[in-house]
Symmetry: C2
Subunit: 384 residues, 2 copies
């Protein structure tokens, strides 16, 4: 099999070069339907349906019949029409997956987790991305409802979620779950990392390395993760009698770009440095912020981790690859995706059997991942 000859003669700007203009046409293959299978096999459509779906009634069908029907189906290359099927059975086998901004590196592993679990359950994800726009969010939900998705997963990594619209789903008995956000009320399940524990782990790590002059870049106020993380930090500080230096704690502004964390990290770290108040470690809100901080520190001639340790949060893919690689508090993102999908599938099954299902709020445990960006405070420079 050799690749077709290509013309690569194109230096044209942007999307250049449409080559190989070949027409496609074929007015054949009128889809093969169940009736066709019935015709060829000599049985009725009803029987065919029962056999091919292995419905309860199939228990009575003679083995010989089954064989004939299956053979006919195979010979014709019969493929059931999912839409027609839905019309009677009310099952679409699809789940809406809504991202607020899929560009966020946080999302990729989550998506992988969702996809994988859905695949296991023979569901297909219909993917939507709100681009952080409310109008787009609502339009997409509308489309998903028209399509009768059997469940909905919302990955709300950023900012708003309108409970009002989501309630529509609950009202229609469509199970819904959010990842990275949580709705008040008991209509929508959620999956979140245990931010408070995460905050504790981060500070604990730095503290146990001997750091006592620690700077903080806190998350934006409107992000749901910010407060509990900070609370975890405070609690741990209190428990070991360490006093947080408020003058070393800055807070990221409320931005809409997920990638703005990096720039925010750069900027706030520069601001910290200008204050000329010494710190030997920096606890950043998330990995991007941490990378930004490292960038700023390095530019100012401060070596990480030799002169300043930096810890992040999330453990996005970049964290291993950056130099130095990033110590961070890991969110098990893929597992969170799995979990959300499984919650939904469970809900779908329940709804199908007209059972009630449970709305649960999950907290998954974060995990400290130690890499190169943190190190014990060298005794020489320690003081207090």
């Amino acid at each position: 099999m050799k690749t077709a000859p290509l013309q690569s003669d194109t230096n044209l700007p942007d999307d250049a070069a449409a080559s190989k203009v070949v027409k496609r046409s074929s007015r054949k293959s009128e889809a093969v339907t169940m009736r066709d299978v019935a015709g060829l096999s000599g049985f009725s459509p009803a029987t065919v349906s029962i056999v091919l779906n292995n419905a309860p009634l199939a228990r009575y069908i003679a083995p010989a019949t089954k064989k004939k029907i299956e053979e006919a189906a195979r010979k014709l290359g019969y493929r059931p029409n999912a839409m027609a099927r839905f019309l009677r059975s009310k099952r679409t086998n699809s789940v809406g997956v809504m991202f607020f901004d899929i560009t966020d590196p946080f999302c990729t592993p989550i998506l992988r987790g969702i996809e994988n679990s859905l695949y296991q359950g023979s569901f297909l994800p219909i993917l939507t991305d709100a681009h952080n726009q409310k109008s787009r969010f609502e339009r997409y939900l509308e489309m998903l409802l028209e399509r009768h998705v059997e469940g909905l997963i919302v990955v709300a990594n950023w900012l708003f979620v309108d409970i009002h619209v989501l309630a529509d789903f609950a009202k229609r008995n469509i199970p819904a779950a959010t990842i990275g956000w949580e709705l008040p009320g008991d209509t929508v399940s959620s999956v979140m990392v245990d931010n408070e524990t995460g905050g504790r782990l981060a500070l604990e790590h730095l503290y146990k390395l001997g750091h006592r002059k620690i700077a903080f870049i806190r998350g934006p106020k409107t992000l749901i993760d910010s407060a509990p993380r900070w609370k975890g930090i405070q609690k741990y500080a209190h428990s070991v009698g360490y006093e947080l230096d408020q003058s070393l704690a800055l807070q990221l502004p409320d931005e809409f770009e997920p990638s703005s964390g990096f720039e925010g990290g750069v900027r706030l770290t520069e601001e910290l440095l200008q204050r000329r108040k010494k710190f030997t470690a920096l606890l950043a809100f998330d990995d991007l912020t941490a990378l930004g901080a490292i960038r700023a520190l390095t530019k100012s001639g401060i070596k990480v981790p030799e002169q300043c340790s930096v810890i992040g949060f999330d453990d996005i893919a970049l964290s291993t690859l950056s130099a130095p690689s990033l110590t961070t508090v890991r969110q098990p993102m893929e597992a969170m995706g799995n979990l959300a999908a499984n919650i939904i599938i469970e809900g779908i099954n329940a709804a199908q059997e007209k059972r009630d299902w449970t709305i649960t709020h999950h907290r998954v445990a974060p995990e400290l991942v130690i890499r190169e960006s943190t190190r014990a405070l060298s005794l020489s420079s320690s003081d207090d």
Copy 2:
């Protein structure tokens, strides 16, 4: 609106803590159908359909009638049933999107591009991820066919594509396009970066910076991009009379993990260093490889870019964020996603109107992005 009280008491391993066990139930809201709208408005379902879809016949409908019907629809919160509609009109307004491995950072911007263009055309993407497994690939295609997607986009960033299965789509008059790969024959459109130009740009950049001792890490043999990129490099070298040093050119092995590029970069760079043959610049197959190379160089005490320039390919999100940020040859990934989606939409429109459509093989132009990882060969150390 205050957030619901949460229990964050969980240090349990892994996915701990299901809290808030609340039952959901409601045996109400039997979906409102078109007949209901007809009933309330006092017109027939046919008229309702014509009005709500603004069908050709709507031209004859009295304005007063339209108003009444629209009002009734609104009052009832009528939402058309996409499946039922399909059964007659044969339109699903959905497009299959298949990734070979969505974990690849290369994919995220492409997905964004696809999603955005599809949204513009009121199509929804059904997302699938083959995980590089042939069986999964085929199973998913099967599911997409059952669902009667109107088009298919395959992002084949890695390894195999089975033309046999894809031909099924063409045969059924479903337009298909691949991104990052190209199928022999004229059944499937494709979008690729112009690799040859890209290769040239990379070498040209290094060459013009004065580098003459250049190491290469070439792409895996089975990757379609590898050969043309190398060819572009060779051509440029030839055109300026520069002789490529084969002993400084290594090739990545055929791996299945997209992220293996990083480790490959590390390993091959170490191997290059062991050869003790001096080089002042390194041209890597892609960004991950380049980052791996930088890692290895740095570890060996060689500063990038001071002592060795490194250039990558792709311009994935990491490239801006890494330290030093990466000079690279940019693939306009989002634009490629847009382009593929638009090709598909165009094909769908053609198929709808029973016109033929054109199979095109697009080459989009790469773009040199200069960042920190390359710099002019300092005169002091230049020689030849």
